[in-house]
């Protein structure tokens, strides 16, 4: 089984202060740490599990600048065979649609049975690359996948719906699946594997290989801004003892317990 996994290196913003850059259209990145997008980790693990079961190859692809090579090397250390980086620096402004077009331009020349992506990137949060890419490649897809079993070229897939409900669907391969977190327990790469991956080649694809003329942007960011506050929070300050006493007072006064 030949598997392609699309991964992205993203800034880790969940616990960081996020500041808007002077253009108003991007964030200040130099103080942030970067790592593989969370759901992509699960997508990669799902590929490694399928390869362990059926054999075959894993190709990881990332659209990014040279620092995405580190992310691709970790994927190689975890079990991917080939890594391709599409040089973001060659393609100017990007959105989800243009990203999917670039991925499709590379993938159309590769043999595959399955494509995995994460179900959402934590930076731009579109959740649209997977289904867009599948449409461009003319293959079926399913998003928010929480379980996959492949039997004779048919995949039996569970998708996460709302409120704890899931649906079970059947999809013919080749197909694309966007993977939800929690589907598996992602492995860590061993130190030996990381050392071995450090020497591996990363294939680069840029404007010499993909013509920029045909690429379309659907959307552009006009401006970034701090979200309006829905509710005015009262921040209680003081030592742990002081804030706890105040909270207990509020709970008693309002009869909350």
């Amino acid at each position: 089984m030949d598997i392609i996994v699309c991964i992205k290196r993203v800034p880790q913003t969940a616990e960081a202060k996020v500041e808007i850059e002077s253009s108003g259209k991007d964030i200040v990145k130099d103080r942030l740490t970067f790592d593989i997008n969370e759901s992509d980790t699960y997508a990669l693990e799902e590929a490694v599990l399928l390869k362990e079961k059926f054999g075959g190859t894993i190709t990881v692809i990332s659209l990014g600048c040279s620092d995405a090579d580190d992310t691709l090397r970790i994927a190689l250390a975890k079990g991917a065979d080939t890594a391709i980086r599409i040089k973001a620096e060659d393609f100017d402004e990007l959105d989800g649609y243009k990203t999917a077009q670039l991925l499709s331009a590379v993938i159309k020349d590769i043999h595959f049975d399955v494509i995995f992506t994460g179900c959402i990137a934590t930076d731009d949060a579109y959740s649209q690359i997977g289904a867009t890419l599948a449409e461009l490649l003319g293959i079926p897809h399913a998003t928010l996948v929480t379980n996959i079993e492949v039997i004779d070229s048919i995949s039996h897939v569970h998708r996460e719906l709302e409120g704890g409900l899931q649906e079970h669907i059947e999809i013919f391969l080749p197909a694309l699946f966007t993977i939800q977190t929690g589907i598996n327990v992602p492995r860590y790469a061993s130190l030996i594997a990381i050392k071995r991956a450090a020497g591996k080649e990363i294939k680069l694809v840029g404007q010499n290989e993909i013509s920029k003329d045909q690429l379309l942007l659907n959307t552009q960011i006009e401006e970034l801004f701090i979200p309006p506050v829905a509710k005015q929070v009262k921040i209680i300050t003081g030592s742990p003892g002081e804030v706890s006493e105040e909270l207990a007072g509020i709970i008693r006064e309002k009869g909350l317990i």
Partner: protein, 325 residues
């Protein structure tokens, strides 16, 4: 034509809330542009459901066929593409739900029309569409403009448009289904209902929600102990379930449960939209998180910016003291 279209989302014989939210949004847009809102209903044996939303849109296009009994992104896409090509609406709204995530990007790509996903708001200014989205773990919003085109497609986030009353009476237009069977390559098999656990977090008056900030599974004992002191149950955000530290039935949020306790205390929860949507209607919300910029403080009534491991022992003592009085 420059109408607003929206896709009705329904599941297991019920119209889903997002449909009413989209129709509220769609009516407001239509009114501003002096045009009409058309609801597109793909379903089976649809009369009762269609009648129930008749006051919500100016026109309801109904495609009644067994193939639409359950949602299937592929058959929905074929039918919607036909309708949009023929009617050429200015804007089509789809829910950014599990259904919409499967459908919207593929539909927009097939039609070659500009689209985007997970919008909190859409405005049309001088004929140009502007959407508001959220980025970077909910810490920033973005205004997005689109490549100019006669027709656009957008998916809307759940819970962004408070539903308003409506008293119009829709014209019903029946359309023959462009599809008669599910495609071979994708078939719906069945729903899998959530497993029922030992604790029903939706029935509790006090819920203590724990998130990534708890760091280790072993630390859950502290939270359990605190919850039992305060007379509450322990719930959690998604990462805790992904790590298998707590079962799925303890998860609060869009893919978990919706809770409305008198008191919801969050410990080390950053406040991702997916969690907030399941707890924001709680009576009183107390958030403890060491990140002063965590979006959870936009939803809380009271906030403590500190390490939960520093606060929790003192908080427990204060509760014990209060109860002893």
């Amino acid at each position: 034509m420059s109408e607003i279209f929206m896709l009705i989302e329904h599941r297991q014989d019920a119209i889903r809330d997002i449909s009413y939210e989209m129709m509220t949004c769609g009516r407001a847009l239509a009114e501003k542009l002096n045009t009409k809102l058309t609801a597109v209903f793909l379903g089976y044996d649809a009369d009762k459901l269609v009648e129930s939303i008749r006051n919500q849109a100016h026109r309801i296009m109904v495609v009644d066929n067994e193939v639409f009994k359950e949602f299937n992104a592929e058959s929905y896409q074929i039918a919607l593409a036909e309708i949009i090509k023929k009617e050429n609406p200015l804007l089509t709204l789809i829910g950014h739900t599990a259904f919409g995530m499967d459908l919207c990007p593929a539909l927009g790509t097939q039609l070659g029309i500009p689209f985007t996903t997970d919008c909190l708001d859409v405005e049309i200014i001088d004929g140009k569409l502007i959407a508001t989205r959220q980025m970077y773990d909910g810490k920033l919003n973005a205004k997005i403009r689109f490549r100019e085109n006669p027709s656009y497609l957008v998916s809307l986030r759940t819970g962004c448009f408070p539903v308003r009353d409506s008293n119009i009476e829709a014209e019903i237009v029946n359309i023959e289904s462009p599809v008669s069977a599910e495609p071979d390559y994708r078939k719906f098999v069945e729903y899998i209902e959530a497993a029922i656990g030992d604790v029903d977090i939706t029935k509790a008056d006090v819920v203590v929600g724990v998130g990534r900030g708890i760091k280790k599974k072993e630390n859950l004992a502290l939270v359990e102990d605190f919850a039992s002191t305060i007379g509450g149950v322990v719930a959690c955000s998604r990462p805790i379930v992904d790590a298998e530290w707590l079962p799925k039935d303890r998860q609060v949020g869009s893919s978990g449960k919706t809770v409305k306790p008198k008191l919801y205390i969050t410990l080390g929860i950053s406040g991702a939209f997916q969690h907030v949507v399941g707890m924001k209607n709680s009576g009183t919300i107390i958030a403890i998180n060491k990140d002063p910029n965590a979006p959870i403080f936009n939803e809380a009534d009271y906030g403590i910016v500190d390490d939960l491991f520093r606060v929790l022992p003192a908080f427990k003592n204060s509760i014990l003291e209060m109860k002893s009085k």
